[in-house]
């Protein structure tokens, strides 16, 4: 019952007018930036880091909570309304949502995504409030040896699962660990890989590398293969009454709940993040659908939007469990949240719930508040989001670059950092080009130093005997669980790929799934001429 009172105290903090204002600002900015194509939630958090530099910790954390959930919402709007194939993490929503929008049901798709995200976000946040304290209570008892085991799990799953190629993921992880080594060794104060340069002696700032990889790398990469021609946005038609009809609601509520139940647990374990959760939800909805509803899959079935969107948001809340209680990020976005905490010298990990309980409960309470705000704001503001989607691409990517250099410069106020930003950005460009995932590098960069110090601490205790690392029963259990999770996740990943190949082969969904926009104009051809509202909005 203690936790309940703590949560209420958190609400008391989060409901103060000034913090409500910060939460509102966070969700608005988060959604607006999340809507922008090419900007995922991780880049959103990285780019907006400078905004919070001058805020006090509670306000900053509340802003980040808003940005975190807002970014997720924004992403689904993009994939439903923008008529180009997007990233694979949002591909499932694009699959059905895009088809629905083309059939003039865009409003219903947006509505079921928004309400589903709200339902899932709220249930998952409730689960988070009750599960996290117990995990934290367990976590304070574990020592460095168990910690090392947990981080090995995080490294391997993140490295091997975030991305399509295991070797490339591990290479990306290795690069992150390597960059993290540059600078003074925390335990012996020896310089490592500084090559005598005073600029490298302090190490390379995590924010700098993250902004470089996410923003500069992305801008350069998109510039190398910019999609030219008009921006195709599917217009949203119909008034408020047609947004979510009774029939839609009847078909949506079960997928929302199922999506939540799938998303939350998948989010809490390091199994590849929200990507796997949305896929699992989509596959199960497709399997459970009957009769004519089943026929609609691939052509705009509302269940195929409702379930995955709910799963996505539930997973986002689930990811916060290992992040807040163990200090272990399992996605790139969570890694960026961890950086935000580190900036404020808030020790994320087992002690967080004890040492900063006011702050962490205010954060959780503001997740509830932010979720509600998003539900109220998002649907009425859809006109604004559509405007944002129409930003000319040269201005969008030029603006991303300006924000990136702003963020880089404001880390230490030295132009050298802008040059380092450019160098790491070029690295990010080539990583994207050759199919190396970015997320493992960021996670390696952030967890590397913590991992090393825990490893050395464990070995100091055991006087250099590595067997001690697996002797503790808890650590041994973690390693066994690791093997199980790993095998299961690889299996899932393979099924996901087969499934995507199958959908791609199906033809009608191919343009969304596989970027088969090779045939220009193929997208526009899907429109039914019978409905005047369905015209592609190409005359801009």
């Amino acid at each position: 019952m203690d936790n309940f009172f703590l949560l209420m105290e958190g609400f008391a903090t989060a409901m103060q007018p000034i913090y409500l204002l910060f939460a509102l600002g966070g969700v608005l900015v988060g959604t607006a930036v999340g809507v922008l194509p090419g900007i995922g939630p991780a880049m959103t958090v990285a780019l907006l880091m400078p905004i919070t530099y001058s805020l006090e910790p509670t306000a900053a954390i509340i802003v980040f909570a808003g940005i975190y959930y807002g970014g997720m919402y924004g992403g689904s709007t993009t994939s439903i309304l923008l008529n180009t194939p997007g990233e694979s993490s949002s591909i499932v929503t694009a699959l059905e949502g895009n088809k629905m929008a083309k059939a003039g049901r865009g409003a219903a798709a947006l509505a079921t995504a928004a309400v589903g995200s709200f339902v899932a976000g709220t249930i998952a946040t409730v689960l988070l409030s009750f599960v996290a304290p117990y995990v934290a209570a367990f976590a304070v008892q574990i020592g460095p040896v168990e910690y090392v085991a947990l981080m090995v799990v995080a490294f391997l799953t993140v490295g091997a699962l975030l991305g399509s190629s295991v070797l490339r993921g591990l290479a990306s992880l290795g690069l992150g660990l390597f960059i993290a080594l540059v600078g003074f060794d925390a335990l012996t104060a020896q310089q490592r890989y500084t090559f005598g340069s005073p600029f490298l002696a302090d190490g390379i700032d995590v924010v700098l590398v993250a902004v470089a990889l996410f923003a500069v790398g992305e801008a350069l990469y998109v510039a190398s293969r910019l999609r030219h021609g008009p921006i195709k946005i599917i217009p949203v038609t119909g008034g408020w009454t047609s947004w979510l009809r009774k029939e839609d609601l009847r078909r949506s509520w079960k997928p929302w709940l199922r999506g939540t139940l799938i998303g939350f647990p998948v989010g809490t374990i390091p199994a590849g993040g929200a990507d796997v959760a949305t896929f699992l939800s989509y596959a199960s909805e497709r399997k459970l659908a009957k009769g004519e509803h089943k026929q609609q899959f691939g052509k705009g079935a509302i269940e195929g939007v409702a379930g995955p969107e709910a799963a996505n948001n539930a997973a986002a809340a689930g990811v916060l469990v290992p992040l807040l209680t163990l200090g272990i990020p399992t996605t790139a976005t969570a890694a960026m949240m961890l950086v935000a905490f580190q900036r404020y010298q808030i020790p994320v990990g087992p002690q967080l719930f004890e040492s900063n309980s006011t702050l962490v409960w205010a954060l959780i309470a503001s997740l509830y508040v932010g979720n509600l705000m998003l539900l109220v704001l998002n649907l009425p503001l859809v006109g604004i989001w559509v405007k944002i989607l129409q930003i000319p691409r040269p201005y969008l990517y030029a603006g991303i670059l300006v924000f990136a250099v702003l963020g880089a410069f404001s880390v230490n106020f030295t132009p050298i950092d802008v040059i380092i930003l450019l160098i790491v950005g070029i690295l990010g460009f080539f990583m994207r080009r050759y199919g190396y995932p970015i997320a493992p590098m960021v996670v390696g960069l952030i967890l590397g130093p913590i991992f090393e110090s825990q490893l050395r601490r464990s070995l100091a205790i055991s006087q250099g005997d590595p067997v001690a690392l697996v002797q503790s029963p808890v650590a041994a259990t973690i390693y066994v669980v690791l093997v199980v999770i790993f095998a299961l996740s690889l299996l899932l990943k393979r099924r996901q790929r087969q499934f995507e190949a199958m959908v791609a082969a199906n033809g009608d969904a191919a343009d969304v799934v596989r970027g088969t926009a090779a045939v220009p104009g193929a997208d526009a051809a899907v429109v039914t001429p019978a409905d005047p509202h369905n015209r592609e909005d190409t005359d801009r």
């Binding site: 399509s164 690069l175 350069l220 910019l226 300006v402 995932p437």
Partner: protein
């Protein structure tokens, strides 16, 4: 993140010969080698506990070396990486190296101009140059957008949020901070 299917055709892999990809994998190998060479120079104080400051760098270098070698082998055998996807990315377009070069050039220029010109001017120039490189026309609209954006950012971040960006010629106007 990319979950693409390797066997669905040429659209996924970077066009052209895998020379670049091979070079990138070799760079990973060489970072691993560098890690061992430079790592040997890390001083180990005699007071250090059983595992000193060298062990972890060596482990990371070994990881890079092994994984890099595996990647070189994979690329040589024809297994290519799947290029990243995105809403604004046309995977079938030819790589536009010129634009990439221009963008990188403007960022570099910006780094050298922040101190002499102040942040707002340097940022406006970066935006103007980047928008022009990416194909935005006419030039005067780019210029107006660049100047307005730079002034707004300077005002919000330096004036309101207290981030100390050097205001340059705007120094005499208090609202732009510094």
């Amino acid at each position: 993140m990319s979950t693409s299917v390797q066997n669905t055709g040429s659209g996924t892999a970077a066009p052209g010969k895998p020379v670049g990809e091979l070079v990138f994998a070799l760079i990973i190998v060489s970072i691993g080698v560098l890690g061992f060479v430079a790592g040997a120079g890390i001083q180990t104080p005699p007071s250090a506990s059983d595992i000193g400051p060298r062990a972890f760098p060596f482990a990371v270098s070994a990881l890079l070396l092994v994984v890099g070698a595996g990647l070189v082998f994979q690329v040589l055998r024809g297994h290519r990486g799947a290029a990243d996807e995105g809403e604004d990315v046309d995977l079938d377009a030819k790589t536009d190296w010129l634009t990439v070069g221009k963008l990188a050039g403007f960022v570099l220029l910006h780094a050298f101009l922040i101190v002499p010109l102040g942040w707002p001017l340097a940022a406006a120039l970066l935006f103007f140059g980047a928008a022009w490189s990416l194909g935005a026309r006419p030039w005067w609209r780019n210029l107006i957008t660049a100047v307005v954006l730079a002034l707004v950012l300077q005002f919000v971040f330096a004036g309101l949020l207290g981030v100390s960006l050097p205001p340059g010629f705007l120094e005499r106007f208090g609202v732009f901070g510094g």
